[in-house]
């Protein structure tokens, strides 16, 4: 009952669409944040493998998911961590 009343009141005042609009504005921002985090990960991963991090960051930023797949295909193997020296 209360919900119905609230929704009808909001629609009457045209604020429901404002609320929906705000929500719909939030979603692209969230995707944008995810894309940025992905770019940071690609940059760090590329640098840790001795590749050009900035170049891969730009590629992933422009080509999105396709750039990410290309990066995963062409990235180098990680150098194996050095084993500790044997005990004397």
């Amino acid at each position: 009952m209360l919900l119905e009343y609230l929704i009808s009141a909001l629609i009457a005042q045209g604020e429901l669409f404002l609320g929906l609009g705000l929500l719909f504005c939030l979603i692209p921002i969230v995707w944008f944040v995810i894309a940025i985090l992905l770019c940071i990960w690609v940059y760090r991963d590329a640098e840790s493998r001795g590749m050009n991090g900035v170049l891969w960051l730009i590629i992933v930023l422009i080509a999105g998911i396709i750039g990410l797949i290309v990066y995963l295909v062409v990235r180098k193997e990680k150098a194996p961590s050095q084993a500790p020296p044997p005990p004397p």
Partner: protein
């Protein structure tokens, strides 16, 4: 009839949030334009096809990402077609948009599910948690969804392409509902449910790690007895 028109308006409103809806690039099926353009229609139905194939064709014990060469071969046509058109080299057709979208969506579904298992949402989404890889290791060569499975996806997406193409221009409204309802459900799930869930899970993880690190830093000796006391209490209660 009026109700149907209102629902179509709502569908178009939701479609407009994620797609340009240019009439020349949108499929006319069942007496109406679909809520999204031909390429997006293809992508959403490709995703649906990919999700349907996953439970049957995934390799349960494998840890590596879906076959990347095959995924690249399936996603590149969409990229080439869209960029070629955007740069003015050629004008794409609705058939090309639909098939490139279908291939893209079919390749994207396993990648999306796999990447979710690398995120804080791993094992938390109902249904998806049952088909996710048990352990995801990006460097592993053993593909969780191999080239053969993706190749099968290509064949099915071509069949789906001809099925959808055969409906274009029809006036039978059932076809409109058959195509637009899955599209709208997928838009809501992928754009309005998944991103907030990801955000909340990431924030929870960050806050949890901050809290635990601050607790252990501030009083490392005091916390251990309290936790062990609570643990013992919980054990007592369970044993009662």
């Amino acid at each position: 009839m009026q109700l149907a028109d209102e629902i179509i308006n709502v569908f178009n409103f939701i479609g407009r949030l994620v797609c340009h809806q240019i009439p020349e690039r949108t499929l006319w099926i069942g007496g109406h334009y679909l809520p999204v353009c031909a390429r997006d229609t293809g992508a959403f139905f490709g995703l649906l096809l990919g999700y349907t194939l996953l439970p049957f064709l995934r390799r349960k014990e494998a840890k590596g990402p879906p076959n990347l060469y095959m995924s690249l071969a399936m996603t590149l046509p969409l990229w080439i077609d869209s960029f070629g058109q955007a740069l003015g080299f050629w004008t794409s057709t609705n058939d090309l948009r639909l098939i490139t979208g279908l291939l893209f969506g079919t390749a994207l579904a396993p990648l999306l599910i796999y990447s979710l298992s690398l995120s804080p949402l791993k094992g938390k989404i109902p249904f998806i948690k049952n088909i996710q890889p048990k352990t995801a290791v990006l460097d592993d060569k053993d593909s969780w969804f191999d080239a053969k499975a993706l190749g099968f996806g290509v064949i099915l997406s071509v069949i789906l392409f001809f099925a959808i193409r055969s409906l274009v221009g029809s006036e039978f409204s059932l076809f409109y509902w058959m195509l637009s309802i899955p599209i709208i459900v997928e838009i809501i799930l992928h754009f309005f449910v998944l991103p907030p869930l990801l955000l909340i899970a990431a924030l929870r993880k960050i806050i949890h790690s901050k809290l635990t690190s601050s607790l252990t830093k501030s009083s490392p000796n005091k916390q251990t007895p309290m936790f062990s006391f609570l643990f013992l209490k919980a054990q007592q209660v369970l044993n009662m």
